[in-house]
Symmetry: C2
């Protein structure tokens, strides 16, 4: 592995001293960049980009060159896992993912296979290419969906406002739910280990639908499996957990074996700090809608955010994926403000 010339992200994740706060953005590789859209528009669809290593590597590196972020994150999709387990999906323009087949019985759960790793070689190839191209300029982040979020897609077959089918399975057949979650967890661990072997320097687990569960249900059907993933990989690289909407589980997240916790923009920073007491690095949490504002407003809101993390382990980010119609200039203003921020 190339030695990292900028390892701010890794040191911040481990709670080591840093000269300044590292900064990157969720969904930084994507539609906000005209350079991304040019590549994307030349292809048949989103999945072709995910599955073509040299193009995935190219769009992964674009924000490093264009925006000056302190980390790259591999361009991919959390839904490659259910696909590798035997449930292919389509990405429908303006609608989102759709799975023609879903899990609807305990028999389906038994029949679904584990993702062993080789099915996802195209992701590892994209990672290897990216690592080579980056040449140590910044760390590369790998990622996967959290088991509960993948479970939701495998049962619902698409996004949902309530995920009531998935939650019905949890209520009516908890054994079946646990069995499926175990298979997803084992597959995800294989996958993340493959990413680490290919060279990623840190991994992030995204639990997009955590916020739909009650605290008790999330503890049993969500965090338990996230913690298994953390246990399996955090001896190798630092792990970040982003449980979107799980404001009710911060004290449970404190006990998860990860290094960094992602915070939504609507979690009050002081509240999170009082719970984590600097035992984890906190990542976030500018309101992504702030990037619709003027340069002056972006700078002032970013400084306010930076002040709220003063004296605490911190990786600067926004509190959710950057919205596709955000102007690159706005993102640059955010990044520049973080980089120039002087701690008091």
């Amino acid at each position: 592995m190339n030695k990292l010339k900028n390892d701010l992200l890794i040191r911040a994740a481990k709670g080591e001293d840093v000269e300044r706060t590292p900064v990157w953005l969720m969904r930084q590789a994507g539609r906000i960049l005209p350079e991304y859209r040019a590549i994307r528009n030349s292809l048949s669809g989103f999945k072709e980009l995910v599955e073509t290593p040299d193009l995935a590597a190219e769009v992964t590196i674009q924000p490093v060159d264009i925006l000056g972020v302190d980390a790259a994150i591999i361009f991919s999709d959390i839904l490659v896992i259910p696909e590798a387990m035997g449930l292919p999906y389509e990405m429908i323009e303006k609608k989102g993912p759709h799975f023609p087949r879903v899990i609807s019985s305990a028999k389906d759960v038994e029949q679904i296979r584990l993702a062993e790793g080789p099915e996802l070689q195209y992701v590892y190839d994209a990672i290897s290419l990216t690592i080579k191209e980056l040449d140590g300029r910044v760390p590369l982040i790998g990622f996967a969906g959290a088991p509960f979020t993948i479970f939701c897609y495998m049962i619902e077959g698409s996004g949902s406002k309530t995920f009531s089918k998935a939650r019905k399975v949890i209520m009516q057949n908890p054994e079946m739910a646990h069995r499926l979650l175990e298979k997803i967890t084992a597959s995800t661990i294989n996958y993340l280990k493959g990413q680490i072997s290919a060279g990623v320097n840190l991994v992030q687990v995204f639990d997009s639908w955590a916020g739909i569960l009650s605290p008790e249900t999330y503890r049993e059907f969500g965090l338990k499996y996230i913690d298994k993933i953390c246990e399996a990989v955090n001896g190798e690289v630092p792990v970040t957990v982003f449980s979107k909407g799980a404001h009710f589980s911060l004290s449970d997240l404190k006990n998860t074996r990860c290094n960094t916790i992602g915070l939504d923009w609507n979690i009050p920073v002081q509240y999170a700090r009082s719970i984590f007491e600097n035992t984890k690095t906190l990542q976030g949490n500018l309101d992504p809608a702030v990037l619709y504002g003027s340069g002056k407003d972006i700078a002032s809101e970013t400084k306010k955010m930076m002040r709220s993390f003063e004296g605490c382990r911190h990786i600067a980010n926004i509190g959710h994926g950057v919205y596709p119609d955000t102007k690159p200039e706005a993102v640059k203003m955010f990044i520049q403000t973080v980089k120039e921020y002087k701690h008091e």
Copy 2:
């Protein structure tokens, strides 16, 4: 007005002593009941039901007769307000509401009219008919959408995962946003006063999309207008505020001039109690997915929920609208368990 034979809800809302905790369910009048579906299927669509007073009154009363709830809530839709202001909508089966015209400029905001009240006579007629039919058996709840949620629909034209168009207006043109929110607020006050004149005994304000904002933005663009509504009507009937997802604003909600606060199922009850310190009645908050479980599980989870509110002003409910595929027997088990619950 008929004297109420069962005024548990009203006394609980005011913080007065009650013999037992009152119980009702958000969306109790609706698809969970075969008697509702029979009426709904005989019509051209959802809006015909909303706009036909004798049928709206009939489905409003169904859950009182069939389920034994301690309150009726008028069958209507929060989107009658934008329609009365000049933006008609369609309700598209399985997709949700769609507004052919939306607000996209300050000029649109100036041109949109206030809802004065008479445009909504069909709602008042449904209320009068319901009050007559109920004959004081239980109180009737009136309702409206909160200004921020209505604002989102008027700008987006439909539901959204991020409401980024609405949030962009807030960031880029806060004066325009405030002007529209003021017009919605004035219209909503007219509307709720009309409902009160027609006989409702309590009103609830639903802020479905509160959870998408940051604490600061919600304070300025959400709660400020909710409080104006509370101020205007709470001398006449008790007011309940349900800011869905606004876990970050509980201490601000404490200062709102309402009687009752609705709680999501994922807000820890102890946390809410520590903030409100019994200055408000708390309404909620069983996980609606619990109603997919067995009768035994429903009873045990309902008792657990009741215990968590022990010694505190409480109206029992679920933490969100009941899911359409919930069995009436499950709802009855929830209601029966609340009614038989003995406080320790």
